[in-house]
């Protein structure tokens, strides 16, 4: 098994490289003590293949329909796979995202992936994009003028970029004809969310009553000052 250890040593310093190669350790244990997982049950094999083939997350219902198995059996198969693809065990992990299950690469393999595909996984998110995305995520469907009203500055370029990256999409038109936006499955996937309910309550970021009082005070003073100036002008 020492050769395997050497393989590990040659690998780039991923977070996992630090762990002693456990194959060595495990080899000393009687194999019978391991869970017998080499033989993946047929249904789990099929589910695994479907997850591999589909670029979109698959729900238990869809999987049950395609495999012609019961949803309970599918969930059991997913549990088997979740164990096999538990984080840190393989280069691929099983994630529950975007309303279903999907396979994804383990983050520890990112350096190699970036070298191979010679492009970063995704461009960074600018503050304007993050704000626009947050407004769409919480208020969807929401129109561009509404986003602009909340942000106080134009959201046009940020919204176009988010559309381009498939994080938001059009969702019909408002009664005034403005395009409405909503978030996509891609958004859930890239942000590691199972569904929108996983977003924390927006009220969580309300300022404290003291902060609010202080803000109100400042605004009032500013308002009075302006009111006075206006009177002088007229």
């Amino acid at each position: 098994m020492s050769e395997l250890a050497q393989v590990n040593a040659e690998a780039p310093a991923t977070p996992h490289a630090a762990q002693p190669p456990s194959a060595q350790h495990e080899a000393q244990l009687p194999a019978a003590e391991h869970e017998a997982e080499q033989e993946v049950p047929a249904l789990a094999r099929t589910v695994e293949a479907l997850l591999f083939l589909s670029s979109e997350p698959l729900g238990a219902g869809e999987l049950a329909e395609a495999t012609q198995a019961g949803e309970g059996a599918v969930r059991a198969a997913l549990a088997v796979l979740a164990e096999q693809y538990a984080p840190g065990r393989r280069g691929i992990t099983l994630r529950e995202l975007g309303g279903g299950w999907t396979l994804a690469s383990d983050p520890s393999t990112e350096d190699a992936a970036r070298r191979l595909f010679s492009r970063p996984r995704a461009a960074t998110l600018s503050p304007a994009q993050a704000e626009t995305l947050a407004i769409v995520a919480y208020l969807q469907p929401v129109s561009r003028p509404e986003i602009t009203r909340i942000r106080g500055v134009s959201a046009d370029s940020a919204a176009a970029t988010l559309l381009d990256r498939g994080l938001i999409e059009e969702a019909g038109h408002s009664q005034f004809g403005a395009v409405l936006y909503r978030t996509t499955t891609q958004f859930l996937k890239l942000f590691g969310l199972r569904d929108l309910d996983q977003l924390p309550d927006i009220a969580r970021w309300d300022p404290t009553p003291e902060e609010q009082a202080e803000l109100r005070e400042r605004l009032l003073r500013a308002g009075e000052a302006r009111g006075g100036a206006g009177a002088a002008d007229s």
């Binding site: 996984r121 995305l133 046009d156 969580r204 803000l215």
Partner: protein, 264 residues
């Protein structure tokens, strides 16, 4: 240059003027949020840089801005004219406060999203279409019950939407007086020959369009060096004098006394 290509860099918008108009019409920019004064300032800056006044574009610009101004005032006053006019400082502050709180909430939520995004760094998904053998199967089965006929009329409707030309800005709500700049130039020169006068005198009993065009004519005369003008306080009287250095290059002192001297 057409006024359409005037480049603007405003708080809520940056791009050419005609795009701004389009976006306003499509309600993608809220006219109430747009500081029209900034648009006018941008145009004046543009004039400054060019160093000459193209009367045709200037007229076009005035008409468009006047239209926007009227639209905006209607938007602001619609329905609740009285209340809006009598808004108390407290009310205004409450409204502003609500807005600021909203902005803060979503800024914080944005921070949360950015954290989630960063936490997913390095997670990639497989984006490979299913192999051709399986895709062929899709086609094969598509004409069966599994396919589900979609309505091709949907496509025709979509094309109809895409063929729609945007409405041109309607100026019908503005009484279109044909006031030529040339006419107002002649009017101002006539007055100048008699000496100094105030702008109010020059536009006595005139409608708004005439006032605007007269102001442009005045700007033009100033550019040509034919007049000097001054306005001691905002919204005050504008005093117009024949250009000092046209008469006496060294006479830099301006003011009523000086003007009177010339007039005399």
């Amino acid at each position: 240059m057409s006024i359409a290509a005037l480049e603007l860099d405003l708080d809520v918008f940056s791009g050419p003027f005609d795009l701004l108009l389009t976006l306003i019409l499509r309600e993608e920019i809220d006219l109430r949020e747009l500081a029209l004064a900034d648009v006018v300032l941008a145009y004046l800056d543009h004039l400054e840089r060019r160093g000459e006044l193209d009367l045709e574009t200037a007229t076009e610009f005035i008409v468009l801005v006047a239209a926007l101004l009227e639209l905006k005032s209607r938007l602001l006053l619609s329905g609740e004219e009285q209340e809006l006019l009598e808004i108390e400082p407290e009310q205004a502050a409450e409204e502003l406060l609500a807005r600021m709180l909203d902005a803060r909430r979503y800024r914080a939520a944005a921070g949360h999203l950015a954290q989630l995004f960063a936490g997913e760094h390095g997670v990639r998904f497989r984006l490979v279409p299913p192999p051709p053998s399986l895709r062929r199967a899709i086609v094969h089965q598509a004409d069966g019950s599994a396919g589900g006929g979609r309505d091709a009329n949907q496509l025709g409707e979509a094309i109809g939407r895409l063929l729609l030309l945007p409405p041109t800005i309607s100026l019908r709500h503005i009484a279109m007086h044909r006031v030529s700049v040339a006419e107002r130039l002649a009017h101002l020169r006539r007055l100048l020959r008699r000496g100094s006068f105030s702008f109010d005198e020059a536009v006595r009993d005139a409608d708004r369009m005439t006032v605007a065009v007269t102001l442009f004519a005045l700007l033009d005369l100033y550019k040509r060096g034919e007049v000097d003008w001054e306005q001691p306080e905002s919204f005050g009287e504008i005093a117009i004098h024949p250009s000092a250095h046209q008469l006496a290059p060294t006479a830099l002192a301006r003011g009523a006394a000086h003007a009177e001297a010339i007039a005399g």
